[in-house]
Amino acid sequence: MVGVLADTGAGAASRGDLVVEGLCFGYDETPVLEDVSIAVPAGTVATLLGPSGCGKTTLLRLIAGLERPRRGAVYAGGEALSTPRRVRPPEKRRVGMVFQEGALFPHLNVAANVAFGLPRAGRAGAVAEALALVGLAGLEERAPASLSGGQRQRVALARALAPGPDALLLDEPFASLDPSLRVDLRAEVSALLQRLAITTVFVTHDQENAFVMGTQVIVMREGRVLQSAPPDELYDRPANPWVASFVGEANLVAGRSDGEGAETIAGRVPLARPAPAACEVLLRPEHLVLDRGGPWRIERTEFYGHDTRYQLRDEDGRALTVRAAGAPRHRDGDRASVRYLGPPTVAFEAS
């Protein structure tokens, strides 16, 4: 029996971790990646999150072997894929990849696309199995051009999974799909990857995708890894102000820390870790509660359906954003006061 599908679960441990050590790429004067190290435990999904041009796709291509690193190493399952001495070509890596637009071979039908990476023996069975896995059984004879965007990405996934790779790389596979389809397919793929327990790196610039898909989220900016943590930790305890704002809406307000907590314009706030006395405290808008009357004036109200977003300003010109579930309960121009009602948060050294 060929393929990852045969040894679901049992094979996960033997496939091992995916490790990137001190990877550098690009010229010295214009580095694309600088000293990037990540570790993806076997059988888990790591998402690479960052703005466009941060080097996340380059990192993916380096893991696949499609680019040559200047320094650093890549290991999968304890095997060296790329070291300073020897860079293994992509065709010898057993690393599967799903490209942004699928990159299906247009001259081959669905079955032939999926069979491309398989040895001759047992091909038909493995193709059928892979297609069933992504819910496309029966479409074997179709041409890629006749498929919808979502179907194309499913075929691409089946094609990458069929040879039973040691690791799977996904490069923004949902970017070209329309939003409702994206949510469904994301849930489906996420469940599938969990079931197969295949070590996966998923690149996205969309915070929602990153959080939903990833056991671990790796935030990148300008060729460096800024933080690598489970989604909830990343959201509640970001490593620096930039990450705090990048993974969600953030108020960064001046505060005075005493170790346990900090005094801010929203009152006393509990801290998850010690901070310097003069600091900037992260207040997520949905952790703030609005009460009638007080020092703040409501400048603007935006109703989103599931919640309402208020923009506040005080007499000194400081701004604050608050989110509350449900329909607006205040109007523009109303006075209000603000309270913190959330988990212990973090504070950064005042800039």
Binding site: G65, P90, E91, A103, F105, G117
Partner: protein, 538 residues
């Protein structure tokens, strides 16, 4: 190895070589082969100390040079006018039977020009169609049309499609909003054509007219048959007894052709900016009372370029098959037909294979050095086939160790491959561009090595474009006369040389039948490769 790699990197940066070293290692020798004929042409002029300048200003040169230029300019202008007018009538007016004319108008392309000239001569020869038609009316056949006017008529009749095709595509695709905007801004029909339609169409007409110019400059068959002395007939006549003169004239001809091609390319690049993207069909003008004259004009053009010559050929072929004038053995055409197909197919396949690495560099990696490679190959297309054949024939005759190639089949194939290489190169470049980089990468991540990627991904994807490019080479090689006359082995007959020799010997029935076969084969190919895919039929 690291040192070699570093050295290559340094050279590559200076010369703007982009792409992998091995590709350059393959491509440079191929490009060098393409440059051989022109380099030899120049070298011969230098080493022989042949007085190129003296010859240029001598009376012996002045007349043929002037004739060549006069004819080329006259035919280009007439073709531009005819082609544009027909394009406008069939694409932008309510001419009756437009769809039918759109297919017929480019068809004179299928007629090799020397066959058309032979047909013109045959029509007026004793016992020809003209006499047969006029005699019952009690009229004598008029004198044959020869010399300048004969050449002008024949060449214009078969060359105007070079203008028609691009002009029709352009006129058909011009977005109607442009003209509507012009009308709303208060311009009349004529002003709109002059200020909006023509500026958008001019580039296409110019490009077509350049092809006509190059075609006429390099034409040998028509002017030789119709007795109009040009550079190419002088070169052909003097090649054996006054080779230095031939080479000097050849250099002048090559320089003239390359200069015109270069000037046009530069102008075209500039005028390409500011062109509206193609849209839906443009507005259509009602011809009103001009409908009949317009239809007549189209009929005359297509009649002269296609219907009349084919009718004449068929007439002689029919007479021959009916047993008049010594009888005609159709079986005797089998050999030449086989040879024609053999040469053309091998040339096409070899050319496509040769230009593939070049296309990879020019189509995928770009850069100035790759642009230079493209220019070398394209330049050989502007240089007349007569000269390329002349150069390679003399080269094999003179160069030590190459004698075995003299007047051999490989030499003929080489001459045609060099001359028509750019047609295959353009096709291959399109093919390379259709292979998305990521497909190759996807194949790599699925474990496919270089050979498997080439066979399973790249070649299948490029196949249609490669076939189209190779098909054009096939077509051109079949129709090529002077190179075949000069470079083919003794006693090796193709359809083209058969027609040529039969005409010289006065076997008009042979001319008719061989001409019909050649026209039929080239017609099928032209339809498949050129006309069917033309934008103006979409």
């Amino acid at each position: 190895m690291p040192r070699a790699r570093a050295a290559f990197a340094a050279v590559a940066r200076v010369a703007d070589l982009r792409g992998p070293p091995w590709l350059w290692a393959v491509s440079l020798p191929v490009a060098a082969l393409f440059a051989v004929p022109v380099i030899y042409l120049v070298a011969r002029n230098v080493t022989e100390g042949s007085e190129t300048l003296a010859i240029l200003f001598s009376r012996r040169t002045a007349e043929p040079l002037l004739n060549t230029l006069t004819l080329a300019l006259a035919v280009s202008a007439a073709s531009a006018l005819t082609g544009t007018l027909l394009a406008w009538l069939t694409m932008r007016t309510d001419l009756p039977l437009r769809g039918f004319w759109r297919i017929l108008c480019p068809l004179p392309l299928v007629l090799p020009s020397f066959v058309a000239a032979a047909a013109l001569l045959a029509a007026f020869s004793p016992g020809g169609l003209v006499e047969e038609v006029l005699r019952p009316l009690g009229l004598d056949a008029p004198a044959r049309i020869r010399g300048f006017w004969g050449s002008f008529l024949v060449l214009t009749a078969v060359c105007y499609p070079y203008v028609y095709l691009p002009a029709a595509a352009r006129l058909g695709g011009l977005p109607p909003a442009l003209e509507e905007a012009s009308r709303l801004l208060g311009r009349g029909g004529l002003a709109t054509f002059r200020r909006v339609v023509w500026p958008q169409t001019r580039g296409a007409v110019q490009a077509g007219a350049l092809l006509v110019f190059l075609y006429v400059v390099s034409d040998f068959g028509v002017v030789q048959l119709l007795g109009y002395p040009t550079l190419s007939t002088s070169i052909f006549a003097n090649r054996l007894f006054d080779a230095p003169l031939s080479f000097a004239l050849g250099l002048i001809l090559a320089v003239a052709a390359l200069a015109v091609a270069g000037v046009e390319r530069t102008a075209a690049r500039r005028s390409l900016a500011g062109l509206a993207p193609a849209g839906t069909r443009g507005r259509r003008l009602a011809l009103g009372p001009w409908k009949a004259p317009a239809a007549l004009a189209v009929l005359v053009a297509v009649g002269a370029g296609l219907i009349a010559p084919v009718t004449v050929l068929a007439w002689w072929a029919f007479r021959g098959l009916a047993g008049e004038g010594g009888g005609l053995d159709p079986g005797a055409l089998g050999g030449p037909a086989r040879n024609t197909v053999l040469v053309a197919v091998i040339t096409a396949a070899a050319t496509v294979a040769a230009v593939l690495p070049l296309a990879n560099l020019t189509g995928r990696h770009g850069g100035r050095a790759a642009g230079a490679l493209h220019a070398v190959v394209a330049g050989s297309f502007a240089v007349p086939g007569l000269l390329i054949a002349l150069a390679v024939v003399f080269l094999t005759l003179r160069a030590p160790g190459l004698g075995f190639l003299y007047q051999s089949l490989p030499l003929l194939i080489f001459a045609c491959a060099v001359h028509f290489g750019v047609q295959a190169l353009r096709g291959a470049e399109v093919g390379v561009a259709t292979v998305d980089r990521r497909l190759e990468e996807a194949a790599r991540t699925l474990g496919a090595g270089r050979l498997r990627r080439l066979l399973r991904v790249e070649l299948p994807l490029m196949a249609p474009a490669l076939a189209a490019g190779g098909g054009l080479v096939l077509l051109s090689t079949m129709k090529e006369l002077p190179a075949t006359l000069l470079a083919s082995p003794v006693g090796f007959e193709t359809l083209a040389t058969r027609i040529w020799n039969a005409n010289a010997d006065g076997f008009l029935a042979d001319v008719g039948l061989a001409g019909l076969v050649l026209v039929a084969v080239s017609g099928a190919l032209t339809w498949l490769l050129v006309i069917r895919n033309s934008e103006h039929l979409r």
